[in-house]
């Protein structure tokens, strides 16, 4: 058998593999969509009987420390803290951790809130880089400002945990906004089920939306195409994927922009790992690892009713940087916790969730990208039947549209008044258009993340964001 024959055979086999892979993945996604649909409807109705607003003044909700790690966040930080001060929650403290910013973040916070240095007796439960000072203001008694040397987001979060005094803490991004009632909704998960160790909210793209003091005031379709595609993408990821995995208590990621944690559990697992850039995923997988290993009962919940708004990247360059980082974070976490792969000791997480992430989320991008080049190539070489190719292509696109459009229907069920009819139709068009270029680009960025894993695993990128519209 000649070399060319071997290559030809390989190409043909790989083509079939690619096609089977895409169809299987789409079918998994559609199963996720159906499960999520049932779950979202139930959760949404449940909000009615939960009547969370009753708890606004309750003394019985667990107090929460809101930790905001800030590195060069001069555009957003003051506005964000002011908005957080107005949230509906009976007892909370805000801890802003300045992670050695080189811009005016530190001075802006001190001036805006009239803060002065105090000698704090914070505990060093988790080792962090040197804390230069702790600031307090009598005008804002629930605000604490920790100024420390640069050590990365994880290190800043650990410093925030050390300085916090409450049993629950939430990590928030400086460039995100949580809705006024979001914490109330999340904290009820801790009261009604004492096994809850973490609850994550839905992160929605704020580009084009007007958010004032944690309240949604209006939506207009964002200016850039990249932003529009991300709106569809976020709904798909959160409303379909996370709801499904949460139903099986095997969610592997709670967004770094908004998650509520039981502090003791995070301390037990050793806090956030400082040598990874995917700290939000790592901490969740670590909690699964630890709890299953120690045979403790626990729940990690995703609550799609608790909303956090975040600014998505506005340019392809920033999007590329973000997606590469996510892929590196995913790869890093999966490698760290490789012992969980197909390990029955870790239950559903080890047998399904981790393998799914290895096969479809990590290598999926690689297979998809190779397919993008190899399938047209084999078509040109006459190795593939044109009818077969067209059928496969149409099926792949249509399954993608079913999934995205389904997520938009879920969005209509959960958050009724966000978009007008015209805007809804316009956004749903993007669930079709994303299949022609955007999805392929995202796959390329993810593959780049895998290839440059060693180089990128320690470097955080900075994404340019604009201020929230007021």
């Amino acid at each position: 058998m000649s070399f060319f024959t071997v290559v030809r055979h390989f190409i043909v086999i790989f083509n079939y593999f690619c096609m089977t892979f895409t169809i299987v993945l789409s079918i998994i996604y559609i199963i996720q969509l159906f499960v999520s649909f049932a779950r979202v409807r139930k959760d949404h109705n449940k909000q009615y009987s939960n009547d969370f607003k009753r708890y606004t003044e309750s003394e019985n909700l667990l107090p929460i420390s809101l930790i905001i790690p800030a590195y060069n966040e001069q555009e957003n930080i003051v506005q964000n803290v002011k908005s957080l001060m107005k949230i509906n929650y009976p007892h909370f403290e805000i801890i802003v951790v300045n992670d050695g910013s080189t811009d005016k973040t530190r001075q802006l916070i001190i001036d805006a809130f009239n803060m002065h240095p105090i000698e704090s007796s914070a505990r060093m439960i988790i080792q962090t880089k040197k804390v230069n000072g702790v600031y307090y203001s009598r005008n804002y008694p629930n605000l604490l400002f920790v100024d420390k040397e640069n050590g990365g987001k994880s290190d800043a979060l650990n410093a925030g945990i050390n300085a916090s005094s409450y049993p629950l803490f939430t990590c928030l991004d400086a460039d995100s906004r949580i809705e006024k009632d979001a914490l109330l909704k999340l904290s009820l998960d801790f009261i009604k089920d004492s096994r809850t160790v973490c609850a994550g909210g839905i992160v929605r793209i704020a580009n084009g939306s007007k958010i004032v003091d944690g309240e949604f005031k209006g939506f207009s379709v964002p200016e850039h195409l990249v932003e529009r595609f991300q709106i569809v993408e976020y709904y798909r990821s959160f409303l379909s994927g996370r709801v499904f995995w949460s139903a099986a208590n095997s969610i592997l990621i709670v967004s770094g922009a908004f998650g509520l944690f039981r502090k003791q559990t995070v301390i037990d697992v050793g806090g956030y790992k400082t040598d990874t850039i995917g700290e939000d995923m790592e901490i969740i997988v670590n909690i699964h690892h630890y709890m299953k290993k120690h045979k403790q009962k626990y729940r990690i919940i995703f609550n799609e009713e608790a909303v956090c708004w975040t600014q998505g990247p506005m340019s392809l360059h920033d999007l590329r940087s973000q997606r590469r980082r996510w892929q590196v974070g995913l790869m890093d976490t999966l490698i760290r916790h490789r012992t969980m792969f197909l390990n029955p000791r870790y239950g559903f997480v080890g047998l399904f969730s981790i393998p799914y992430n290895w096969i479809f989320e990590l290598f999926g991008a690689l297979i998809e990208t190779i397919g993008y080049f190899l399938i047209p190539f084999s078509l040109l070489m006459g190795e593939l039947n044109i009818f077969f190719f067209v059928t496969y292509f149409l099926l792949a696109v249509l399954l993608g549209v079913i999934l995205s459009e389904g997520s938009l229907v879920l969005e209509q069920l959960t958050h009724k008044t966000t978009m007008s009819v015209k805007q809804s139709i316009m956004i749903s068009l993007y669930s079709l258009l994303e299949n022609f270029g955007y999805r392929q680009l995202i796959s390329l960025f993810r593959v780049e993340g895998i290839i440059k894993y060693r180089k990128l695993r320690r470097s955080w990128g900075k994404i340019k964001r604009k201020e929230f519209e007021q």
Binding site: N60, I118, S121, S194, T391, G406, V409, Q412, K416, S428
Partner: protein, 358 residues
């Protein structure tokens, strides 16, 4: 040929599903936009009507305005709640003299709209979620006639519904039914102990009676939880039980009893608190210091000061907070701040910065 047929069938199926999704999406968006517009319009109308009701020149005019308002609300729970929201806003925007008038108007509107009937309808015909909501609303309105229904619903399979029914019974102050519900869930450890606190906060009847029932009927875990929940209400008839409970060998009972004794801050318990401040459990030590802070005697002050040198961070913080609230002399403070123990000085400084105006 077979594969090709399958492929075409798959494509047709996907197209049908996609079209259905687009139609559902469009219909939902249309419905929500209509609902939004209707609500906004109704809200505006209600606001105007409420304003004109407040400033109605004669009783006749007032009557007419209230009839129109009741008509607008109809028998709809959402509209009624929207009207209440508008009344709330009106109260915030008006002078104190008008607030009485607004309350009178709310009572008159209630007479016409009969909200109890609206929620009773929801209780009878709604799904589990609406039933749960209706329970709480009816209890808020003091609808005792639905007590039996609430009692039945506490046995519902749906956790949220039974919880809401029990909360409604709390609002109505039915000790026996609440006790039965708590007995029913006492084996369910997934409920946080804070639920019991919530029951105690909401309970409008005799808390001492509820406590007696719970303490005689519940298991050990629930008894300890109940004692902790009772603590903020300082129920004097149980004080002796707390004192005795603390002398038992059971750690959980000791923690619960010292936590319940602390808010009294009774000088006769000083000895108990002093002993508890030496306990090997830091939760007990911390609670004892809180009790001593209320007593505020020189001997109590001595023990609280020694709490600043505790090995546990939380106890040092509690001691520092307690010390600042007691009659501590500036000399004592200076002594601690310049003392050899940096942890004690740090804890005190941290509290002083926050408590004392510099």
């Amino acid at each position: 040929m077979k594969y090709e047929l399958w492929g075409v069938a798959g494509i047709i199926f996907c197209i049908i599903v996609t079209v259905i999704e687009y139609i559902i999406h469009f219909r939902l968006a249309q419905r929500h936009e209509n609902e939004k517009n209707t609500t906004e319009y109704l809200e505006k109308q209600l606001t105007v009507l409420i304003e004109s009701t407040i400033y109605a020149p004669t009783d006749n005019a007032l009557d007419q305005q209230i009839c129109t308002l009741a008509e607008k609300i109809g028998g709809c729970a959402e509209s009624y709640e929207l009207a209440l929201e508008c009344f709330k806003r009106a109260k915030e925007n008006h002078k104190d003299d008008d607030i009485e008038q607004i309350d009178r108007i709310i009572a008159l509107v209630d007479e016409k709209v009969k909200p109890v009937e609206i929620y009773a309808e929801m209780l009878a015909n709604g799904d589990v979620y609406h039933k749960g909501y209706a329970c709480r609303r009816l209890a808020d309105m003091g609808a005792v006639q639905y007590k039996e229904t609430f009692v039945k619903l506490t046995e519902a399979a749906d956790r949220d519904l039974s919880y809401n029914a029990a909360m409604a019974l709390c609002t109505l102050g039915d000790a026996q039914s609440v006790c039965n519900y708590i007995k029913q869930i006492q084996g369910d450890k997934t409920y946080s102990a804070r639920m019991i606190n919530e029951f105690y906060d909401e309970f409008k009847g005799d808390r001492a009676e509820l406590s007696k029932l719970l303490l005689s009927d519940c298991n050990h875990y629930m008894k300890c939880t109940v004692i902790k929940a009772m603590a903020p209400f300082k129920l004097k008839e149980f004080k002796q039980m707390y004192q005795l409970g603390f002398t038992e060998n059971d750690k959980q009972l000791q923690i619960a009893c010292i936590k319940a004794l602390a808010p009294f801050g009774d000088p006769e318990d000083e000895q108990t608190f002093c002993i508890a401040a030496q306990n090997n459990d830091w939760v007990i030590r911390s609670a004892a210091l809180q009790g001593l802070a209320h007593i505020n005697s020189p001997s109590a002050l001595r023990v609280v000061k020694s709490g600043l040198y505790d090995k546990e961070w939380w106890v040092r913080q509690t001691a520092a907070k307690a010390l600042v609230s007691m009659n501590v002399s500036p000399k004592d403070i200076e002594e601690i701040l310049s003392g050899y123990d940096r942890f004690a000085a740090d804890a005190l400084k941290s509290v002083l910065y926050k408590e004392i105006e510099l």
